[in-house]
């Protein structure tokens, strides 16, 4: 009775076995090919990281400068501003006053304010002239009084200033205090006159008007300069590690030591690449954190119009930064490999900066938008994605395209570097009859 059962079972078990075998061999493949490759990559990566962490240059350029750049800049700005503020406080504000409503009351209050030099305008057309003087910075503020002619009609106070000039901003805050006193005084007078409380809120209305158009422009520039600065920091953060792991390795004669390790050359280069990317990214994150902190805490303290960059979608910014870090690190590593020594690499720093910053600063132009074409141009694509992300506009297909092309370019760069370090001229530091040696000679001269 058991026989048919067994027969029935047989094919099943064998197919199960086959499945297990298949699974096992797949597992084996993954284990051997992938995991061991990753393990080796990881070992190399950790070694490179350790070397970099023990180097002062790298730590200064990739960690210290990005971290302390903004606090230092802002500290300097802060000192300068408090100095300027001191001057401004001792300076008298020129304020033009137009209109005659309750002018006596205002005049009495202004009499106690020696820091405000008031000019009374009565003739027709004077207001127009005052406005143009204000926009040129000749005049610090205009106060216009209207209404209040009939009983119960509110008095309007128009306070016009120009935030493009610091003197005007301080004149505005001085006048605000005066207007407050003016308002209180009017309340008191009205209360005495009418004996009623209800009309009080009707008594005075204040309108402020800023005639400056610069504010928007300066914010716009700042919101583009800050990302640019962030990118400059990123390049700086990647350059020293790249130089140290490529040219430095040659200089310290550890290249052959690395080459005789039982790993393929692309893993060696990839390990270096990952270490450089890590440092670039750390520089980027530290810089971003420092920037955010500085803008939020220091600028608010000194009462400066904060720049309007939104840091709400932080992770997307980090992603955009990673794009850029990945691309720039690949390029820098390849360039650093062509330098024979650390010193020579440093002399290549300036042209490299120029070459990399140029496509990045192209993104300052608002007309340039991420398109299928630009998504295929290395560095520019990552910089554009970064900018778009900062402006919170996500064009996902193009972002994915940028990601794909960036990976391809990075792979090309790594392949090139792997080939390059296998060259004899690289091993012995004598590149001949190539454009590298041409560039090198130029860099030397």
């Amino acid at each position: 009775m058991n026989v048919p059962l067994v027969k029935c079972m047989e094919p099943e078990t064998s197919s199960l076995n086959l499945g297990v075998y298949r699974w096992l061999s797949l597992h084996y493949l993954i284990e051997v090919a992938l995991i061991s490759a990753l393990k080796e990559l990881f070992i190399i990566y950790m070694r490179e990281l350790r070397l970099l962490l023990r180097d002062h240059h790298t730590l200064i350029y990739s960690c210290a400068i990005p971290l302390f750049l903004y606090p230092v800049i802002l500290f300097v700005v802060f000192q300068a501003m408090s100095l300027v503020k001191g001057w401004q406080e001792s300076e008298v504000s020129d304020v033009a006053i137009v209109g005659s409503v309750e002018i006596d009351t205002l005049e009495k209050i202004l009499f106690d304010e020696p820091s405000i030099l008031q000019i009374y305008l009565e003739e027709d057309g004077a207001l127009g002239r005052a406005r143009s003087r204000l926009s040129e910075g000749d005049l610090d503020a205009i106060v216009e009084l209207t209404g209040g002619e009939k009983e119960g009609e509110p008095i309007m106070v128009w306070l016009t200033f120009n935030s493009a000039y610091d003197a005007s901003v301080s004149a505005k805050s001085r006048m605000e205090k005066v207007i407050e006193k003016f308002q209180t005084r009017l309340f008191e007078l009205q209360a005495i006159r009418l004996g009623k409380q209800e009309v009080l809120d009707l008594a005075l209305q204040v309108e402020e008007k800023d005639i400056s158009s610069n504010i928007e422009r300066s914010n716009l520039i700042l919101s583009q300069i800050l990302p640019l600065l962030l990118m400059v920091i990123l390049v700086m953060g990647a350059f020293y590690p790249a130089l140290d792991l490529a040219a430095g390795e040659r200089e310290r004669q550890t290249l052959e030591t690395s080459l005789i390790a039982p790993v393929s050359r692309w893993k060696l280069v990839s390990g270096k690449y990952l270490a450089v990317v890590s440092f670039a990214w750390v520089a980027f994150i530290l810089n971003l954190a420092s920037m955010t902190f500085s803008l939020k805490h220091i600028l608010v303290q000194i009462d400066v119009q904060a720049f309007s960059i939104s840091f709400s979608s932080l992770w997307v910014i980090l992603l955009g930064g990673m794009f850029l870090a990945g691309m720039i690190s690949a390029i820098l590593l390849v360039i650093a490999f062509t330098a024979r020594s650390f010193k020579e690499g440093q002399s290549m720093m300036t042209p490299v900066y120029a070459v990399l910053i140029l496509p990045i600063s192209v993104t300052l132009s608002p007309q340039l938008e991420l398109s299928a074409f630009w998504a295929c141009v290395p560095v520019v694509n990552a910089a554009l994605v970064f900018r778009e992300v900062l402006q919170e506009s996500y064009n996902w297909p193009l972002i994915v395209l940028t990601l794909i092309t960036s990976i391809i370019y990075t792979a090309i760069a790594i392949t090139f570097a792997s080939w390059f370090i296998s060259r004899e001229s690289f091993l012995f530091g004598e590149g001949q009859s190539s454009w590298f040696s041409f560039l090198r000679r130029r860099a030397e001269s």
């Binding site: 070992i43 070694r47 350790r50 180097d55 310290r252 005789i260 790993v263 091993l427 004598e430 001949q432």
Partner: protein
């Protein structure tokens, strides 16, 4: 069995034998394109072999091509012509396997100075597939064999030349390779450290390993080597035991043998 089958069998037997050799070099040649000197033949059609349990010394004046030869064997340089097999693996086609089977040391394989000896051994050990307790044990063993325990956790940049050389040799043998290729391993060492190095090579040989090393010190070669290779201007002039070389040149001391071989070559060249 016809003749072609016989030839095939013979050649396969030869291959078998050669595969069992530690080092098998056939017509190895390296030329450099030098900007000043034009084409330089650093190594010129060298053929030889080394077996397991054998120490072979490579002697030659400066610029003879010793380093270049050893570099090709270590897969750092690709040969221009010819072939080389180490532990049966082709230097050209299977460089990864070759690197797994050799320990290579030369003046150009400096240590990572920012790492400590322990970290250095850990790095190379783990790349060679050692892990966990096995790795720790191996490191502890090497540290005690080379008396490096005192400075095992000091960065190599702070160590003396001798200490560094000890770390380097420990690094080359961390994976217990069957073949050791050493380019002037005693360069810059005092006689104490140098003799430690020589003792180590001897022990390595006794464990059935093959060691090929170059040097300028005749005493080391006389004392240690089973066979001696003399190379000059990229060419292998002789490869024999000390006694064999004595018979060949009718000289007693290695120094004289060396001069005699090289002067013959100079005379040949001037003729």
């Amino acid at each position: 069995m016809n003749s072609s089958q016989l030839a095939e069998r013979q050649s396969s037997e030869k291959l078998q034998r050669e595969n069992n050799r530690a080092i098998q070099v056939e017509g190895l040649t390296k030329t450099f394109h030098d900007q000043e000197r034009g084409l330089v033949t650093a190594v010129d059609q060298i053929s030889f072999h080394c077996d397991y349990g054998e120490v072979v010394g490579l002697l030659g004046p400066n610029g003879a091509g010793k380093t270049t030869t050893l570099r090709m064997l270590s897969t750092v340089l690709a040969p221009t012509r010819g072939s080389a097999f180490i532990a049966g693996k082709s230097v050209e086609n299977d460089p990864l396997e070759v690197r797994k089977n050799i320990g290579y040391l030369s003046a150009n394989t400096n240590l990572y100075l920012r790492l400590t000896p322990r970290e250095t051994l850990k790095y190379f050990g783990s790349l060679h597939g050692l892990k966990g307790e096995q790795l720790d044990q191996k490191i502890a063993e090497l540290l005690s064999v080379f008396q490096m325990e005192d400075f095992a956790d000091v960065r190599c940049e702070k160590l003396s030349t001798g200490m560094r050389q000890k770390v380097s040799i420990a690094r080359t043998v961390v994976h217990d390779p069957p073949v050791l290729i050493l380019d002037e391993p005693t360069l810059g060492l005092d006689i104490l450290v140098a003799s430690t190095m020589m003792k180590f090579i001897e022990q390595f040989k006794e464990r059935g390993k093959c060691i090929l090393f170059s040097t300028h010190i005749m005493g080391e070669v006389e004392k240690l080597c089973d066979r001696i290779a003399v190379i000059h201007r990229g060419q292998l002039l002789a490869l024999d035991s000390l006694q064999g070389l004595r018979d060949q040149t009718q000289e007693q001391y290695l120094e004289d043998i060396f001069f005699s071989l090289i002067q013959d070559e100079v005379k040949d060249g001037s003729r």
